[in-house]
């Protein structure tokens, strides 16, 4: 009854804030309206739906689809940073661990940008400072030239063991793909470790993360199978810690030569029902399967978001929905820009 120390986290305050923010998120009818608009009209529409400040700030130097993409990312970064700075105690630890994926995203952008010889401004435009590392820290990373310096400094800033990062980089012989895989695996390992599954809500959160790992692993396996890659080579890309796809099932799945051959092993998964028709059809569209799996993930998040109002669950639920909103706006804008028909764009949305 009296376990109300600062270590527990300020759930009431943070949850009230995210609930207020969630009430402003776009709904299905908004996307339906946006599908009937042109890109400038979408810009105007989202300006009136909470993205006004970012749209005005960026309107001077960007326009069209670039303006929509950057404004939505900047807005998301701002919203996530405000949640992180509002949360305290164990809640902050979990939120920070969840948002670390944006630190890793930024590191990947910097490494790739540097390797392609982009200048500081071009790299900065693609960054999403939604994690622990703010704009200043990221600018410092961009100013460094050697990849090893960037990795070592990132390690110190994000409290990732710099030596482990450098070792992973050296072992891969300077291969960015390998260091990116290492960072993804590290992110999930650290996220799972940061969640203490002793209470029901944190256990639900951990299970959600582990299901996300399953979806990511299955996506990797299917994509590689579509390219004709299977067997032990695929195992190096599998992220450990999945809920249903454990090592044994992962080995079975990667060893199946084709997607059809993997169908019987896939049928053990909870979410197989949602993708059964797509996987068993004559021509498997990986994009559709991934979209369906994303929808399944969201359905899972929705299921538990109302159960524990004073816990980490509503906070994570909001962050998932905010990220999806940004993804959906970009999908609609990109789809309209490239002239896709409305039904196709709608099929790509995760609502």
């Amino acid at each position: 009854m009296f376990s109300r120390s600062g270590k527990k986290g300020n759930y009431a305050y943070t949850v009230a804030r995210v609930k207020a923010k969630k009430s402003h998120l776009l709904g299905e009818e908004d996307y339906n309206k946006m599908l009937q608009m042109s890109v400038p009209e979408i810009s105007r529409y989202i300006s009136e739906s909470g993205y006004q400040k970012e749209m005005v700030d960026l309107a001077g130097r960007l326009e069209g689809i670039d303006l929509v993409e950057h404004a939505t990312y900047v807005n998301m970064a701002k919203v996530f940073s405000s949640i992180l700075s509002a949360s305290q105690g164990e809640l902050e630890v979990m939120v920070a661990a969840y948002l670390e994926k944006w630190d890793i995203w930024n590191l990947k952008v910097i490494l790739r940008g540097k390797s392609y010889g982009l200048n500081t401004d071009a790299i900065m435009e693609d960054l999403v400072p939604a994690g622990r590392l703010g704009t200043e820290s990221l600018e410092k990373l961009i100013s460094l030239d050697a990849t090893e310096d960037i990795l070592a400094n990132f390690g110190r800033m994000a409290k990732v063991n710099p030596q482990a990062l450098l070792d992973a980089y050296r072992e891969s012989g300077g291969n960015f793909g390998a260091i990116e895989d290492y960072l993804d695996k590290y992110y999930y390992a650290r996220l799972i470790a940061s969640i203490d599954p002793t209470s029901r809500p944190t256990k639900l959160f951990q299970e959600y993360v582990r299901k996300e790992i399953d979806v990511k692993n299955l996506e990797t396996i299917l994509k590689l199978k579509a390219e004709g890659i299977y067997g032990e080579d695929v195992m190096q890309y599998i992220i450990p810690g999945g809920k249903q796809i454990d090592k044994r099932l992962a080995v079975q799945l990667v060893n199946a030569e084709t997607i059809e051959a993997a169908a019987s092993d896939l049928s053990q998964l909870d979410f197989y029902e949602t993708i059964r028709d797509l996987v068993e059809s004559d021509s498997v569209s990986i994009r559709d399967v991934v979209t369906e799996m994303k929808k399944y993930e969201i359905a899972q998040a929705k299921k538990f978001s109302h159960l524990y109002p004073l816990s980490v669950v509503p906070v994570i639920d909001f962050m998932i929905h905010k990220e999806l909103e940004v993804r959906n706006i970009r999908t609609v804008a990109r789809g309209i820009e490239s002239g896709l028909d409305k039904e196709t764009i709608k099929g790509l949305l995760v609502i």
Binding site: R4, N10, A12, Y13, T14, V15, A16, R17, K19, A20, K21, A86, L310
Partner: protein, 77 residues
């Protein structure tokens, strides 16, 4: 120090004190969470100030119940 009055009156006084004290403690704990949530909601949307205030003072009713019990204990019993 000389103690005056009987044991019964003393117990009534202790009971009245506990009624007010414990309800105050309960209301404080409830108000802590409600107040934090109210401040969070107001931070996002200033128009929620009026509604939030109502929710913040709701737990105070528990103290009023305690106070009523205390008054009854002292003046009626």
């Amino acid at each position: 120090m000389v103690l005056e009055g009987d044991v019964g009156s003393g117990l009534i006084a202790i009971g009245a004190g506990l009624a007010v004290g414990l309800t105050g403690l309960g209301a404080g704990m409830a108000e802590g969470d409600v107040g934090a949530a109210a401040v969070g909601a107001i931070t996002e949307d200033m128009s929620l100030f009026g509604k939030s205030m109502i929710f913040v003072v709701l737990p105070e009713t528990i103290v009023i119940f305690g106070l009523v019990i205390a008054i009854i204990s002292i003046f009626v019993m």
